[in-house]
């Protein structure tokens, strides 16, 4: 109940803010200079939807790999809550070790270096 109401309230607040500034904001005539995207006082050169560096994409790919590993790691924390065993310690340490080896491989291969 409270959670649903809170979500509804948050949505209402956001809509309210947006509606409020759309209504209250000063309306003046728009001209070409004012509406053009900011670019140090120049006319914008070329399209803004330009391609960007592939590095950012590679970081996203690496992120997916490591985030899946974090997700796989989370149940270990719950497992230790219910019962501690040597097997549990060994398996989770082994998993972390595999992660470390993977990270070292990425580092050696140079996919973690931003420039180059």
């Amino acid at each position: 109940m409270v959670m649903g109401l809170s979500v509804v309230f948050v949505c209402i607040v956001c809509c309210l803010f947006t509606g409020l500034f759309m209504m209250l904001s000063e309306k003046r005539g728009l001209d070409r200079e004012k509406c053009s995207p900011y670019e140090c006082g120049f006319e914008p050169i070329g399209s803004a939807r330009s391609p960007f560096s592939i590095r950012f994409f590679l970081v996203a790919v690496l992120f997916v790999v490591f985030d899946v590993e974090v997700v796989l790691l989370m149940p270990f924390a719950y497992m230790f809550f219910y019962g501690k065993s040597v097997l549990g310690i060994l398996s989770s340490s082994g998993f972390l070790l595999i992660l470390f080896v993977g990270l070292y491989h990425e580092y050696r291969e140079g996919s973690l270096e931003w420039v180059g």
Partner: protein, 305 residues
Amino acid sequence: MDWVAVIVSIIPFVGVLLAVGFYTLLERKILAIIMIRKGPSKVSYMGILQPFSDAGKLLCKEFIVPTRANVGPFILAPALMLAISLLGWLLYPYKSAEVFYVFGVILFMVITSVSVYGVMMSGWASNSKYSLLGAVRAMAQSISYEIPMGFIFFCVVLCSGVFMFQEISVFQQSLFFFFLPLCVVMLVWMLCMLAETNRAPFDFVEGESELVSGYNVEYSGGGFAVMFIAEYSSILLSSVMSAAMFFGGNEALVGFFMMVFAIFFVVVRASLPRLRYDKLMNLCWTVLLCVMLTASVCVVVLVGV
């Protein structure tokens, strides 16, 4: 209609919005003290009503939609950012909270991940090179710092045995703060929080010497105000969470350390210079990740034995 439930669900968010207002005032005052000037001191008594007059001014300013921008996403992006960062406050770690999340840690991770979408929308929709570059940088940065953050949560959850923020806080009731065994983890956590909220030493999103103002260059007036509120509420949320995770137990103590962390964010902004972007990425992927992997192994062995 259950009016008590309505009031209980509204009050925390009203409190958050007020807190954000006064936090901006606090930041300006502290920055002013550090730079030996006066700061806002004219509006009402000692400038206490400054945030409200600022908000009023910003809401009344002209809101310009640039040509060939995607109008829908451009207007919706600030609202989305505000909604996401306010929803994070559903899990404020007090026993008096009305909603308890058994897997609150995971909800926190989800919320920090989803907050990237607002930045992406605003950067893409505003049809400006600066905002696109700023948004791409912000995304890469907060994506990479989420991984050490996941490992930090793993360490903390392993120590306390629960995923619920209230329980993590209660676990430290006998003044055995997680700060003591996990001090390295807490340092990494502070770095991650600074990077996640795009704050001062890591504010490449709005590096003024390079990108003017980052993903919010094209926003004026109300849109900018809403984005600003979203940013500051996520800063306050992260300082509450760090207080509950590392200095929990007594609720008054959590409140006190929350203030300490909030002031820490401001003092860091005033005192440290900006890093270089490639160094930031190297710091995350080579240093912090290795430190956190090692720390996780240590915690696993210590907790298991």
